[in-house]
């Protein structure tokens, strides 16, 4: 059983509009049997944080194409993308590069 | 309250035209549709009196409508054309044999002569046999290349002056988008041309009289006229990338119905920079068909099939053309690369 972990989430480039206009979010992911990975985090964000139009943020089990993800200020493509296992105090940034926010 | 026809203002409209947004009744629609094809034929000077014109007939909606409209217009405006149907039998069981039945019925209905050329007689291979060797990934390449030549050869056998095909506005617009997505500037420049002037010896000029006709209207025309056509997708056809372009075009049409003809307008007005290298057309040194390489695509594909090296014609293997022409054997390494078929 993994302990709950605290992560810092940041939304920018217009993605924040889907989260009530708030860019910074300090969240605590509840304790669960396996360690948290990015795939689960996205599902959790969708269920608990997204305030409107979830399809503009997540599509399928990943982020909508055109949204960049940084984990601790590095490209998530370097970190295994959806399979990255989150650590306590991780910093995850989502930046939309899409024109229409 | 029913919408009235915007042309006669008397009868109930049965469709809304995607290109202009007008609503028309059945009779006015038939008239407008046929008249537009006529205008296309006249303004682009597609035919001359006395010519023999082969209609590429697949049994599908486009070529069925084309055959019907050409027959109507040939009589209405005394084009003085000798029309005939030209079909290609690719040898696809369960698809082509059924659609050929449709073409044979068309022959009766329109009272037009019909010529069927088969891949088997031309190349010694049916599509069924090709698929057995190459699998489902690249079979459309074979079929497309072979069909183009097959139509030409059929046309030459029948001493046809021109071939016309059922390509419609959606097809042309899709090809424009496709060529942009591929960055293929040479094809982008050519693909909106309504007719190919005789590109070389042994090639019959082709044209697309339905170039400005929306697929939607073609289907409705066939439906209201109760034309007999065959409507099953080719069982070997799925082509993912082209599918993307098609889906995008359909979405565009949903947002702005004129988008299809707008894309064609764009394609017709692109100006390509001078100095961008364009392939030079020559002739295949084996069969004489036009080709920008020593061997035409069809001969390369055929060679690959006959040698059991299906990948020979897929991708770029121009440097092997010399060997093929000289009937030299390939090295083991070369053979190994060309044999592998990834499904």
């Amino acid at each position: 059983m993994a302990a709950p972990i605290a992560v810092h989430l940041e939304f920018g480039g217009g993605a924040e509009l889907l989260f009530g206009g708030v860019k910074d979010h300090q969240v605590t992911l509840p304790s669960q049997s396996e360690p948290w990975d990015m795939k689960q985090l996205l599902a959790w964000i969708r269920a608990n944080m997204l305030q409107e139009r979830p399809e503009l943020f997540v599509q399928g089990d990943t982020v909508r194409p055109g949204i960049l993800v940084l984990i601790n200020d590095a490209d998530w493509e370097l970190m295994g993308e959806l399979t990255y296992q989150l650590q306590d105090q991780d910093n995850v940034v989502f930046i939309s590069t899409l024109h229409g926010g | 309250m029913p919408v009235l026809c915007s042309s006669c203002e008397q009868k109930r409209a049965v469709l809304k035209r995607p290109k202009t947004g007008h609503s028309l009744c059945k009779e006015c629609f038939f008239w407008a549709f046929e008249e537009e094809v006529h205008q296309t034929i006249v303004s682009a000077r597609l035919f001359s009196p006395g010519e023999t014109v082969g209609i590429g007939a697949s049994g599908g909606k486009d070529s069925t409508v084309l055959a019907h409209v050409l027959k109507v217009l040939n009589e209405r405006y005394s084009y003085g054309l000798k029309l005939l149907l030209l079909s290609v039998d690719e040898g696809i069981t369960g698809y082509r044999d059924d659609s050929l039945e449709t073409v044979k019925r068309n022959q009766q209905q329109y009272d037009l002569p019909l010529k069927i050329v088969s891949y088997e007689e031309l190349y010694g291979w049916t599509m069924d046999a090709i698929v057995k060797q190459v699998g489902l990934k690249n079979n459309c390449t074979f079929c497309g290349v072979f069909r183009r030549q097959a139509l030409d050869r059929g046309a030459m056998m029948l001493k046809v002056d021109k071939i016309c095909t059922g390509h419609n506005a959606d097809d042309v617009a899709e090809t424009v988008l496709m060529n942009v997505l591929r960055g293929d500037i040479a094809r982008l420049r050519r693909c909106t041309a309504i007719s190919t002037a005789s590109e070389g010896e042994g090639v019959v000029p082709r044209c697309k009289p339905l170039k400005y006709a929306y697929e939607k209207e073609i289907v409705l025309y066939a439906y209201f006229k109760k034309l007999d056509y065959f409507s099953t997708e080719c069982i070997y056809s799925p082509n993912a990338y082209r599918g993307h372009a098609r889906a995008f075009l359909k979405d565009l049409e949903a947002v702005r119905p004129s988008a299809i003809v707008d894309v064609i307008h764009s394609g017709e007005n692109l100006s390509v920079r001078e100095g961008v290298r364009m392939p030079v057309q020559g002739n295949c040194s084996r069969c004489g068909y036009i080709s920008s390489q020593a061997l035409c695509k069809s001969c390369v594909l055929l060679e690959g099939l006959n040698r059991g090296l299906p990948k020979l014609g897929i991708g770029k293997h121009h440097r092997l053309h010399g060997k093929i022409l000289a009937r030299e054997p390939l090295t083991q390494e070369e053979e190994r690369k060309l044999k592998a078929v990834d499904f």
Partner: protein, 531 residues
């Protein structure tokens, strides 16, 4: 019908999941922080060097910006134009041999009035931007979209460019600049730039004869009436596609006018390659194929005296977003017309989502589309100095693409329109605008997709107005695509006055030409138009 008569399978490589590599491919030492195109992993400092170098390489390669020249940076507040501003600062601040040597100014166009933003929100955004702009020390111009209602009609005139400079003159200009700087220690404004020769300056002065509107403190830069006019104009446009297109056109007019009024001869736009790929495909879908090269190439010469350049065209939006984040480049998110709109809300929006999704599966999508623009022709068709202004579109100022041969999509559409309407007693050669019988006029504004034919040249009859004279024939002055936009605009009388005035002038001029044509011996101009 099976469409596969060309093989498309090669070259389209599917995306592969990148191997997780932790070292920078460039210096082989630093640990990688991002993957840019082709799966190359870069460390922070190599990425910065690469990013900075690319900007100067782009300007160096194209050699269109002269030393001492005044260059207007169009900054929207978004990531790409903010990164462009940062690159200009970087390039001007350095004392390196490759130092940039032009004189920058900044323009921001506040479009809040067309996008339904509240005044307070707009003021807030402007305050944020002003503090960013002030920090650069460059002159800046905040322009509001409402100001289109005060533009002079001369905006719509294209000035023929300065006579072509011989090859090698760029180097001469640079040498002269360096010489002068050595003598004076500084360069005083206005000298040496060959682009600023006197003829051009005269032209600019003439075109900007209206105020430059430096408003005194506290006075709003536009009246509430103009605010209402703008709202009314955008509300009268039926589709988001046309609204976005109109907004783009009006914004361009404001930027052009400001550049002329303030003596800038270049405008820098921050379009990234991701943006340009979307724009290219989107413009094809909008029927803008004829001006595609100017719309998406490195430089756009269509206005003549003011040339638009796009120095960010080699950067992907990913590179830009990461650069801004890593190196603290400030940008401001400003909601636009299509913010939060669904994917199928407009052609532009649909194209963006299509390209972005395809890019996720086929990573070469954006660069392939974008490279197409380099193979297109940028040069405008030859324009001699006394050429008719009607040869350019009234709105987007591209060369008119409607004088095409009869076997064309354009004529096919006209034929369809004619055949789909009541066959009124047409005399041959009658203007479409005159067929506006009450019967056909009735459907004019009723349903979407109505055609210009029944709506007449300028929407007379159904769209009654006191400002647009009933005889105004807008349609004939527009390119193919701008016709589509105007077709979706129901209240043509809400167009800004400068557009109406210029349209009337062109109408009068062509009418006059027609009247005197039989007395003219020189057929040259007519011959040109027919070609």
């Amino acid at each position: 019908m099976c469409q596969v008569d060309e093989e498309y399978n090669d070259r389209l490589e599917k995306r592969t999941v990148p191997a997780v590599s932790q070292k920078c491919v460039k210096c082989k030492e630093g640990s990688a922080v991002l993957i840019i195109r082709a799966g190359d992993a870069f460390c922070r400092s190599c990425f910065k060097e690469y990013f900075v170098h690319k900007f100067r390489a782009m300007l160096g390669k194209n050699r269109v910006i002269y030393p001492g020249e005044k260059v207007l940076l169009a900054v929207s507040g978004g990531p790409a134009s903010s990164a462009m501003l940062a690159q200009v600062q970087e390039g001007l601040s350095r004392d390196a041999p490759k130092k940039l040597r032009f004189k920058p100014g900044i323009i921001y166009v506040d479009e809040g009035g067309a996008c339904g933003q509240r005044l307070e929100e707009r003021e807030q955004v402007i305050a944020q931007l002003e503090s960013i702009f002030r920090a650069t020390g460059y002159p800046f111009h905040i322009v509001h979209l409402e100001q289109v209602f005060t533009l002079p009609s001369s905006v719509l005139e294209a000035v023929s460019a300065a006579p072509g400079r011989p090859e090698g003159s760029y180097k001469a200009a640079v040498d002269q600049f360096i010489q002068n700087s050595k003598l004076d220690g500084s360069v005083s404004p206005g000298d040496v730039s060959p682009a600023q020769d006197s003829a051009l300056q005269d032209a600019q002065l003439r075109l900007s004869r209206l105020d430059t509107r430096d408003t005194p403190n506290g006075t709003p830069p536009f009246t509430p009436q103009h605010g209402r006019d703008l709202e009314r104009l955008f509300a009268s446009v039926r589709t988001l596609t046309a609204r976005e297109d109109l907004l783009q056109t009006l914004r361009q007019h404001l930027v052009l006018h400001t550049a002329r009024a303030e003596g800038y001869s270049k405008v820098m736009m921050g379009d990234s390659c991701s943006r340009l790929a979307v724009k290219l495909l989107g413009n094809i879908s909008l029927g803008r194929g004829a001006s595609l090269a100017a719309d998406t190439g490195f430089s756009d010469p269509r206005y003549g005296d003011v040339v638009v350049v796009r120095p960010m065209r080699d950067y992907s939006s990913k590179e830009i977003a990461l650069y801004n984040r890593m190196f603290g480049v400030p940008s401001v998110f400003i909601p636009g017309l299509d913010t939060k709109a669904p994917d199928k809300a407009s052609i532009q929006r649909l194209t963006e989502s299509f390209v972005t999704k395809l890019q996720a599966d086929f990573p070469s999508t954006v660069s392939t589309i974008y490279r197409t623009s380099e193979k297109l022709h940028t040069a405008c068709p030859p324009q001699n100095t006394d050429s008719e202004p009607s040869a350019k579109c009234l709105l987007c100022l591209c060369a008119l693409d409607t004088k095409v041969e009869e076997a064309s999509a354009f004529h096919a559409t006209l034929v369809s329109e004619r055949l789909s309407q009541k066959r009124v007693t047409e005399s041959p050669g009658v203007r479409a605008g005159n067929t506006n019988t009450p019967a056909s006029g009735g459907q004019c504004c009723s349903s979407r997709g109505e055609q210009d034919g029944s709506c007449g040249g300028g929407g007379e009859g159904c769209c009654s107005s006191n400002r647009v004279p009933p005889s105004l024939d807008l349609k004939s002055l527009l390119c193919y695509s701008c016709r589509l936009t105007i077709k979706d605009t129901t209240a043509l009388d809400s167009l800004p006055q400068y557009i109406v005035t210029e349209a009337e002038r062109r109408n009068r001029r062509s009418q006059m030409k027609q009247e005197i044509s039989e007395f003219l011996l020189d057929e040259e101009e007519d011959g040109e138009e027919a070609s």
